[in-house]
Every structure is written in C-alpha cells, then in structure tokens.
C-alpha cells in the first residue's frame, strides 16, 4: 500500500510539472488555432535561461521565474508580430510547418550556443520530506506543483475577470463576432502569444532542476503537452489540471510498477493516450474552449 501511495504522490507532483508545462500550449491552440510545434523548444529556452542565471549569478531557478517570464513574453510578442501573425489565418498545416521550422532553428541555435551537453540546475528546495518510513514527498516537484497551481489560479482569474482576459476568450469563441464588437484581434493574439510563451518559459525554469537541460529535450515535451491538451480540451484551464494529473499519475505508476523500462515507456503512454483521446473523445475529457475536431472532414 505504501508503494502505491508513494506512486500516487509522485504522480501528483509530476502532474504539477505537466500542468505548468501544458497551459501555454493549450491556450495558444484554443485561442489562436495555432498548434505550437515549437512548444518544447520554448520550454528548453526557459530552462537554459534559468541554467545561465544559476551558473553565472548563482541564482536559484525559483527566483528567476519572473525575469524568465518577461524575457520569453517579449520574445513571444516579437515572434507573433513577425511570423505567427502571417500564418494565423492560413490553414493549420502552414502554421504547423512554420512552427516546426522554428523548433529546428531553436534546437540548433541552442546547440551552437550551449553545446549538446546535458546540464543540470540546482535548487535549495531539494530533497524529500518523509511522511512515514517508506512514503515521502519530493520537495522540488512539490514546489513546482504549488507554483503551477498559483499560476493556474492567476490565469483563471485573469481570463474570467479582466477585460483583456475576456477579449481573449471572446476571440477564441468567435473571431468574427469579436472583431465586430470592436476587439483588436491582432492585439489580443499578440498578448495571448506573449503570455503563453512567458508561462512556457517559467515551466522551463521550474523543470530545469528536475529534467536535465539539453537542446533536444523539446519534442517529447511537445508530445506530452499535446497528449494532455487532447485529453483536457483546447484552452481549458481546469481541464489542463485534470489532464496533467492523469498523465502524471499514469507515468508515476508505470515508473514504479514496470521494472527499469517504465520511465522510457512514459513517452509511449503519452502517445497511446493522445491517439486514443483524439479518436475516441475529441472534445476532451473535461470540455474546452472548442472541440479538437480530429475526425471531421
């Protein structure tokens, strides 16, 4: 029983990591209809920023969350203006290929700058709190979970309460109608993209003490974000929480109960979840801003 509760705790902690990871991806897709294939690469950039801060300034990854947010948000704003805006009204595949190009560029730019070595970030929030002899809470992941929940609440309030948040939701629901009532769609998209990239960068900074930082860590993360979004529904903030927890717990159970190879099987699990969710329940388990219309033609 204690092994099971340990796996459950690990899974929830891992789910926190996935929650902060998936929010940006899900909202960009839900609001702008752009599948951000470079999502994992933006996470990686955030992780490298945190690593640089740690290496040069000795700063803890949890302390650089805000600077990383603003750097990536500025980057996102510029990228939206010069590139994403051009493809947003075009078919999905154009934006998909363009973001694929961005991901190749970022991977190799980071490889040129930092080499392909695996980097690891340190944090003082390390170790484990033991609850009993065989059950303990991994501190770093637990802290990430807390930050992720704080971001989730803040984001939810922002989308529900503020005027900008409301116009973002309006743009997601009906672009034309939003335009008619006087919402500046381009501005809304720029803000959305900046906000989401900022959150994605924060995710990178937070997971840098957990996963090794390296230029090619992106694609599996993108795949996981995709799987969670397919489960939780596009742009659904609450759904993201559910989907992230489901994936985290499944992965933790696999890691615990399947000897040695369980961690590698995690990627396989995300893939199975992804296809199953797209085929069986395209609207997501928790309902979203709009359905993932995967089999409609």
């Amino acid at each position: 029983m204690s092994t099971f509760s340990q796996a459950l705790i690990n899974g929830i902690a891992l789910g926190g990591m996935y929650l902060i990871l998936v929010l940006g991806f899900s909202i960009i897709w839900g609001v702008m209809g752009v599948i951000n294939l470079a999502h994992g690469e933006f996470v990686m950039v955030g992780a490298y920023l945190a690593w640089v801060a740690n290496e040069w300034l000795g700063s803890d990854p949890f302390l650089v969350v805000l600077p990383v947010f603003f750097i990536l948000a500025a980057f996102g704003f510029v990228l939206q203006r010069i590139l994403v805006n051009r493809v947003i009204d075009r078919p999905h595949l154009v934006s998909l290929l363009v973001m694929f190009g961005v991901s190749i560029i970022l991977q190799n730019a980071m490889k040129l700058i930092f080499s392909a070595d695996f980097r690891r970030n340190d944090t003082v929030l390390d170790g484990a709190w033991s609850l009993s002899e065989r059950v303990s809470i991994p501190v770093t992941k637990f802290m990430v979970l807390l930050v992720a929940l704080a971001v989730l609440v803040a984001l939810h309030q922002f989308l529900q309460r503020t005027r900008t948040g409301k116009s973002i939701r309006a743009a997601a629901q009906n672009r034309e109608a939003a335009r008619i009532v006087g919402i500046d769609i381009n501005k809304v998209y720029a803000i959305t993209f900046a906000l989401c990239l900022g959150m994605t960068g924060v995710a990178g900074a937070l997971i840098s003490p957990i996963l090794s930082v390296q230029p090619f860590q992106g694609p599996p993360l993108t795949l996981k974000a995709f799987a969670i979004t397919a489960m939780s529904g596009l742009g659904s903030v609450k759904g993201a929480l559910g989907g992230a927890m489901v994936l985290g717990i499944i992965e933790a159970m696999l890691a615990l109960y399947v000897d040695k190879i369980g961690t590698n099987l995690a990627v396989v699990a995300s893939f199975v979840i992804l296809v199953a969710a797209l085929v069986l329940r395209p609207q997501g388990l928790f309902g979203g801003l709009r359905p993932v219309d995967a089999t409609a033609s």
Binding site: P91, P219, L265, V268, S270
Partner: protein, 392 residues
C-alpha cells in the same frame, strides 16, 4: 575543395537548375515533357557511368548512395503526403523499423538468440514488417485529419524509438547493434539507383491509374470521394502501407551499409524533415518534384553546408519557413497545373471558419444545404476525372 570553391560549384548548379526551370516554363507543355524526359535520361546515364570512371572514390559513391536514399524516402513520403494529402511527420519511423529488423535478424548470432540471417531475406522480412506496422498503425492514425494525423505520426515515431530503446535483449537498447561488415559500395549504389528509378517509374504509372486518381480525389475532397462510393480508408491505408514497405526497404539497405545502428541514428527526425522539405521544395503531389527537391537539398548540404556543419539544420529551419511562406507550390509545382499547394490542401478542413463554443458546430453549418450541393457537384467532377484518367 575550399569554401569558396564549393560555393562556386553550388551557385553553378543552382543557376543551371534555375535556368532549366525557366527554360522549361517558357516552352509549350508537350515539348516540355519531352525535354524533361531527355534531361532525366542524360542524368541517369551519367549516374550509371559514374562508378566506372577511374577517379570515382568509394566515399563519393557512398555519398551518392545516401543521396539516393534521401530521394527514395522523399518519393515514398510524397505518396501519402503529396498524393493523398496526409502529411506524415513521423515517416522516418518506417526507415528505422526497416533498419532495425534487418539489424536484429542479421545479428541474432552475436546476441546468442540463434543463427544470423543472410542479408537479402532479412531485408525482405524487414520491409514486410514495416508494411504490416504501417497497415496497423495507419488504420488507427489515418482516421485523423490534417494536423492531427501529422502529430499522431510524430508521436508514433517518438514512441517507436523509445520502444526500440527499451527492448534491450532484441535491439541492444541504447548501445545499438553491430551488423556483419560487408563493403561493396558500387553494388549498393547500383541497387539503390535501380530502386529509385523503379520507384519513380512506379509513381509516374500510379499517378495515371484509377488508384492514383482515387488518392488525389481523397486529397481534394475526401467526403465527396466517400459519397461517390470510394472506400477512402482502404485506399489511404493501402498507399500508406506501400509507402511504409518501400521506406523500410531503404532503411534495411542503409543499415547494412552503415554496419552499426542505435536508436538515435536509425530513428532520426532529420530523415523526416529532409523528406518533407525535399518534397515541398520540389512540389507536393508531383511525380518528379520529390526527386528534384530532395536531390537539390542534399547537394546544397554536401557542397555548402558541409563547411558550416553546425549551422546546417538552423539554415534548414529557416529554409523550411521560407518555402512554406513564399514557394508553396515548389519548383516543379509551378510548372504543373495539376498540383496542389499546401495551403489549398488544408483550407477545406480548417479554413478560417469560426466555431461556436457551446454547440461545437461551425457557423458555416447554417449554409449546410448549399454546402452539400457544392460537395456533391465537386465529388461528381472527381469521379468523372477518375473514370476518365482510369480509362487512359
């Protein structure tokens, strides 16, 4: 060759290609076809004679063999991505499966699991396995449309690499497998040259058959094709299976020549990227486009980017964005009225129509009746053209 020398050679090649394309665009279509065939024949004779020349080294032959591999994979990718319109972002998975099954069968002895197989039977079984996997996976993933199919295939690719990595007793895990060494560069060169030519002729023939027209009909209007009684699933999966089979073949050939495979070199994203980019540069859904485009990209990399090896993927990413935004029809595509551009391909699935959040239905549904009529009409045209072309 120094950097300047290789740049000069490349600029020469590029200028020659550009002049040829402009020249071809200026002459009437019937003459153009004859000139095209003539050019192809000259290049083919050149490629056949090349190994017989005195100063051709083995390493140059190996480079050309790799070029032929890239071209072959691009032709296969074009069968699903270009003809059927199902853009596969994980095509390299079939290459990896072909390479790995070949490797596993040939190195059974060293792994202590039995007697190692000879190469040819291993290769046949390997492509067979790739075909069966493509048929099984295709049946699930080809139900998804547009970007969802692309992502599901990307997932297949990433997942398969991990499966190979964890199946350690069979695949050697992350350490990889060493195949019995055998070096005969000219033999493999000719085998692959023959394969690529056969594949090209096959594609050309296929495009004219009823099956080929069916594939294009699926790309242009899948629902319409279905309404005309075409079993779209069977046709899609059939071409996907062939594509997997053929790519698996190239994978097995590559594995034997490379004599070493591990998950990270057998399942490498670059192979998919090369196929997608080569095909798009040449012209999506054209017969010769993938050959021209991917050969061009390969030479570009060998001649220029070899001097900036670290930069080449970065440049490739920029180039991909450039092609998508500014040359959506590709080099051959601008010459051929029958092709499609990537943007027209997806607009019918995911046009800029807006979706109502509560019902999940499209605003366009109000016009449903008109849409259905339009759909039936276009389906009619597709069927008529399929019959006309099938009868040729």
């Amino acid at each position: 060759m120094g950097i300047l020398g290789s740049i000069a050679v490349f600029v020469g090649v590029a200028a020659a290609i550009a002049l040829t394309l402009v020249g071809l665009a200026l002459i009437p279509q019937r003459v153009r076809r004859m000139v095209g065939i003539g050019l192809g024949a000259v290049i083919l004779v050149g490629l056949i004679v090349l190994p017989l020349l005195e100063h051709t080294t083995n390493s140059e032959l190996f480079t050309l063999t790799l070029l032929l591999t890239t071209v072959g994979v691009s032709i296969n990718w074009n069968l699903t991505g270009g003809f059927t319109g199902y853009v596969d972002f994980g095509h390299a998975v079939w290459f990896g499966i072909g390479a790995y099954v070949t490797g596993i069968l040939m190195s059974l002895q060293t792994n202590g699991l039995g007697i190692g197989w000879p190469f040819v039977p291993s290769l046949i079984v390997a492509s067979g396995v790739a075909a069966v996997m493509a048929a099984l996976i295709g049946r699930a993933t080809m139900r998804l449309k547009g970007p969802y199919f692309s992502i599901a295939m990307l997932g297949t690719f990433v997942a398969m690499r991990e499966i190979v990595r964890v199946s350690e007793p069979l695949t050697g895990g992350g350490v990889g497998l060493t195949l019995p060494p055998y070096q005969n560069r000219p033999l493999f060169y000719y085998v692959q040259l023959g394969l690529v030519v056969a594949l090209l002729l096959f594609t050309w023939w296929l495009r004219g058959t009823r099956f080929g027209s069916t594939l294009v009909a699926i790309r242009e209007d899948e629902l319409g094709a279905e309404m005309r009684g075409i079993n779209t699933t069977r046709n899609k999966v059939a071409v996907f299976t062939f594509s997997g089979f053929s790519t698996g073949l190239f994978g097995g050939l590559w594995a034997y020549q490379n004599t070493f495979i591990d998950p990270d070199i057998a399942f490498v994203e670059v192979r998919t990227i090369d196929a997608v980019m080569g095909t798009m540069l040449g012209g999506l859904g054209t017969v010769t486009g993938p050959v021209v485009g991917s050969a061009f990209l390969f030479l570009l990399r060998e001649l220029i980017w070899a001097n900036f090896l670290d930069w080449h993927l970065l440049i490739q990413g920029l180039l991909l964005i450039g092609i998508v935004l500014f040359l959506p029809k590709g080099m051959i595509g601008v010459l051929d009225p029958r092709t499609t551009s990537i943007s027209s391909l997806w607009s019918k699935y995911f046009g800029s129509e807006t979706v109502d959040v509560h019902t999940g239905t499209s605003v366009m549904d109000a016009l449903e009746d008109d849409d259905t009529t339009a759909m039936a009409v276009s389906a009619d045209e597709v069927a008529v053209s399929a019959e006309a072309e099938g009868g040729q």
